[in-house]
């Protein structure tokens, strides 16, 4: 058998590289002093590059660059794209104007959350959906009857998050003129190296920040352009640990860390409706039918919502990561999914999932049991926890218009 190589056979060699590099990898590799990598959806992504604590402070004091290329991206385009997305996702997509972004989520027919993500409206008929997990079969099956195409473009489009107080100044100095006009959740196209890139005023840090999407082959040039312009503004590349701290201060949740997505939940009781993970606000009952609407309505009417996701403030300063939450120090009522001492809030904060009515109507007398491993011994602490609003920090610079020039 003699066969000519095809695109398909040429792709066989992927088995030799289990963790792909992103289009920015040469730059990350050059900066990776800690060589502390993790697997992000099949990509080699940094936990840290030089010092996870200092990387966090780069977000809050200067400008931090975080490679978001491994995020799953779908290009959704066609005359029915708006109607299709309105049907698939929870929020009212007809109110999402071209040039705007919103944070949304989508459910299966039983009302259980498949994922959360950001929806970018690039034009009246063109969208980009970014998410943690992969959903091509779900999106394609849902597209039946709509004049719309759905294309997975994770590898084709590289992404960078530029976050922190000097991020605006960096972009302006890099020559992206007009970027000052972007308000929170605005997006616009900007020329770059003979092509155009999309910059949105969005992010995962609760800080002033932007996200940049660039064709993969123009990625390195963009990185260099930002770094050159940012040198005088303290720009630093960072890894996920620092970003994860910033997102927790911002009170944001992460799929398959703070809740289990429906297509991955082996155990039926791990499934969650939007109201159970703090996303009830997205559910728009005024718009037409959307996936999961009937089930969500029924669950609300029959009070079948068993869980609630809350922000906690915990006494002391020991992070309560994965601690069990108790009522009256005795009855187990939930679990902490993320926790930290917040340098910005100077509070010990956490995100927890509780079983109703705890966290819902009963919020008094909640405790967390912290097992702090110290030199091969658990220091067991029972600490009082208070349900508090998220985000845990609110920074005026995030929304200030025009953005401040530090």
């Amino acid at each position: 058998m003699n066969h000519q190589p095809t695109a398909r056979t040429l792709a066989q060699s992927h088995f030799r590289t289990l963790r792909l590099g992103t289009p920015f990898q040469p730059r990350l590799d050059a900066l990776a002093k800690t060589q502390d990598w993790y697997n992000w959806a099949g990509y080699r992504a940094p936990h840290s590059l030089w010092d996870e604590e200092l990387e966090y402070f780069a977000i809050r004091s200067q400008a931090a660059v975080f490679d978001i290329s491994p995020m799953t991206k779908y290009r959704i385009e066609g005359p029915d794209a708006e109607a299709f997305l309105d049907r698939v996702t929870l929020r009212d997509v007809t109110r999402l104007k071209p040039g705007r972004v919103h944070y949304t989520a989508w459910c299966d027919d039983e009302g259980f959350v498949l994922d959360d993500g950001t929806l970018f409206r690039l034009s009246p008929t063109r969208f980009r959906l970014c998410s943690q997990e992969r959903h091509l079969p779900w999106l394609l099956d849902s597209a039946i009857g709509y004049e719309v195409s759905v294309e997975e473009e994770t590898e084709a489009v590289a992404g960078l998050a530029l976050q922190g107080p000097t991020s605006f100044a960096v972009l302006r100095d890099a020559g992206f003129s007009g970027v000052e006009k972007l308000k929170v959740f605005d997006l616009a196209d900007f020329p770059h190296d003979g092509t155009s890139i999309t910059i949105s005023r969005t992010g995962f840090t609760g800080d002033l920040g932007y996200e940049l999407f660039v064709p993969a082959d123009k990625a390195l040039g963009l990185w260099d352009r930002l770094m050159a312009a940012g040198e005088r503004r303290g720009i630093r590349a960072i890894g996920y640990t620092a970003l994860n701290r910033a997102r927790l201060e911002a009170g944001l949740i992460v799929a398959n860390a703070d809740f289990t997505t429906a297509e991955h939940a082996i155990r039926a009781d791990r499934l969650r409706m939007p109201d159970e993970i703090g996303l009830g606000f997205m559910v728009d009952l005024e718009k037409g039918h959307f996936n999961g609407r009937r089930a969500i309505l029924e669950a609300r009417a029959r009070r079948k919502l068993r869980h609630v996701l809350v922000g906690l403030e915990i006494e002391g300063n020991i992070p309560a990561e994965h601690a069990i939450v108790y009522h009256k120090k005795s009855q187990e009522v939930g679990l902490v999914s993320a926790a930290m001492w917040s340098p910005m809030a100077k509070r010990n904060v956490a995100i927890a999932s509780l079983t109703r009515p705890y966290g819902d109507t009963i919020v008094d007398d909640l405790w967390v049991e912290i097992y702090a491993m110290r030199e091969l011994q658990y220091q067991k602490l029972m600490k009082r926890a208070k349900v508090v609003a998220r985000p845990f920090i609110k920074l005026d610079r995030r929304t200030a218009n025009p953005p401040a020039d530090f």
């Binding site: 088995f15 992969r134 079969p137």
Partner: protein, 539 residues
């Protein structure tokens, strides 16, 4: 005259598991085995110098870890090694691999279909949910639904509660899973033919059904509910071949004081006044036992070893109608070097996994059509492994043992017995298929053993060469296995028990039937079962 506390007919893995548990409970147990070696269908045989052949079963996943631990099998040499996924070769010169790494697996599927690549998670979730439902049932005696005994009611309640614990969606899926064809089941997740063919093979292995026959979805599940050290669904090689499993069992049995007699074929079970008294060997020797346990399949046990007059009519009719159809054969090959597959990169991990050549559902179903017509498949389905890529004990360095499981092979050819010429024709269909993908393959062959259903039945004793001692269709599972009313390892003859794969939970080198039968026997004897671990928790 000595009367043993228990005589086990057949030294297969279930017979030995059963013997071990009984001996450890303080019984004086004798295993009688017709061959000159123990192992049944889990053997390693040196059929040519320097090469160990796993000449029946060839991979390990279903064997219950609770049994390995109870019987201290690691101490007696058992080691199971996980292996890489494997691949289906496609006729256009490519292949579709299954990689253990989740993202490599997705990227590999994406070479064929981006959509199907992203459908795998939902498929894996649904299959895993069903496995979790079934797994705890493996190490329990199936309840008798017509009985009002507290234990049966309790077990029925357990089953009902487990079922009621499922969501409506899962319940629907469970029922569909147990009755659907694997082809239709896969249609719900995937649209690419080769990807479906890749998964469908687990639905037809050892089964006289095609991928489009109802009931094959469950067979897939049966192959997914095993594990290697907690990695559910994984498959491995027993180091030293599958005989390592039974070798360890035999050693454990002997260490606890048990006795094995090989070369001792049982002619019939002695029955008087409705009760088993022992066995008579082919040479006429009588061996007395207080109870007799048969590791042979239900047909062989009740149609050959027990006189018909001792059995109730309806029972006998059901045994006769029990589906135990021969559908597969084996070609075991010693190779003087590792075969090359031009489609496969030389450094591919697929060499260390299972390889297949049936790249479409249509080809798989057509192979089954040949079986229905009473012929071996002209274009057979192969499950091919080269365990020596991971296990250096089975062949000299640089040389290899290759096991090819071959489907379909009918129990009779055109209605007549297999002949040697048929056997050679069957082997040729296999060798020629491999050679299509591996030029020069024939030149590497040092020795070859070909086993059609005729050889498997003659040597191992499996009726029609059926590897599961009876089809794994829903009508022959749980309290219907092997026949209604006798699903709890007992038989119409007092003191005669069954412990083979014909009983719940069925075939594969699992050991659960042998263990469960021991639990029932010890219950009848009012003896402790404290040396038997309950099923591991599924959390």
């Amino acid at each position: 005259m000595k009367a043993w506390d228990a005589i086990i007919i057949g030294g297969g893995h279930n017979g030995l598991v059963n013997a071990c548990y009984l001996q450890r409970a303080g019984l004086d147990v004798l295993v009688v085995e017709k061959n000159g070696w123990v192992g049944g269908a889990a053997t390693s045989r040196e059929l040519t110098p320097g090469f160990l052949y796993s000449n029946c079963s060839y991979v390990c996943s279903l064997f219950r870890p609770e049994i390995m631990r109870d019987l201290e099998l690691p101490r007696f040499g058992l080691q199971v090694i996980s292996y890489e996924g494997g691949a289906v070769f496609t006729r256009d010169g490519d292949y579709l691999a299954n990689y253990r790494d989740h993202d490599a697996h997705r990227r590999e599927f994406a070479r064929f279909s981006k959509r199907d690549a992203e459908a795998y998670d939902r498929y894996a979730r649904d299959v895993t949910r069903q496995c979790r439902f079934i797994q705890p049932l493996l190490m329990r005696t199936a309840p008798d639904p017509t009985s009002f005994k507290p234990r049966d009611l309790g077990e029925l309640l357990y089953l009902g509660k487990k079922f009621a614990g499922l969501s409506t969606e899962e319940m629907a899926l469970t029922l569909r899973f147990w009755t659907m064809s694997i082809s239709e089941f896969l249609d719900e997740y995937f649209e690419t033919d080769v990807i479906k063919a890749n998964f469908a093979l687990s639905g037809i292995i050892g089964t006289a059904l095609g991928p489009m026959s109802p009931g094959t979805a469950y067979v897939l599940l049966h192959h997914y509910m095993g594990e290697v050290d907690g990695s559910v669904g994984a498959w491995g090689y027993a180091r030293g071949g599958m005989g390592a499993v039974t070798k360890a069992l035999a050693a454990s049995f002997k260490a606890s004081g048990g006795t094995i007699r090989t070369g001792a074929e049982v002619d019939h079970v002695m029955v008087s006044r409705g009760k088993a008294r022992g066995v008579v060997l082919a040479g006429g020797e009588e061996i007395y036992g207080k109870l007799v346990v048969s590791n042979a399949d239900v047909k062989r046990t009740f149609l050959k070893l027990v006189e018909e007059k001792e059995l109730p009519e309806i029972f006998l009719r059901r045994v006769k109608n029990f589906k135990i159809r021969g559908s597969s054969g084996k070609v075991n090959i010693a190779l003087d070097s590792l075969p090359e597959f031009p489609a496969l990169p030389k450094d591919s991990p697929v060499y260390r996994g299972d390889m297949h050549f049936t790249d479409s559902m249509e080809r798989m179903e057509r192979a089954y059509d040949d079986w229905k017509a009473g012929r071996w498949s002209a274009d057979p389905f192969l499950d091919m492994v080269i365990p020596t890529t991971l296990d250096p004990t089975m062949a000299p360095p640089g040389k290899h043992f290759m096991s090819c499981f071959v489907q379909y092979a009918p129990p009779k050819v055109d209605g007549r017995e297999w002949t040697d010429a048929d056997r050679d024709g069957f082997a040729e269909s296999v060798i020629s298929q491999i050679s299509d993908y591996s030029p020069g393959f024939r030149d590497r062959i040092v020795h070859m053993e070909v086993r059609t259903p005729r050889e498997i039945e003659a040597e191992v004793g499996l009726t029609e060469g059926n590897i599961f001692q009876g089809e794994l269709t829903f009508d022959q599972l749980l309290f219907n296995r092997p026949v209604p009313g006798y699903a709890q390892y007992r038989s119409p003859v007092g003191g005669l028990y069954m412990c083979g794969s014909s009983t719940h939970p069925g075939g594969g080198v699992m050991g659960a039937p042998g263990r469960n039968a021991a639990a029932e026997i010890l219950r009848d004897l009012a003896k402790s079962t404290s040396h038997m671990s309950p099923a591991h928790d599924v959390i």
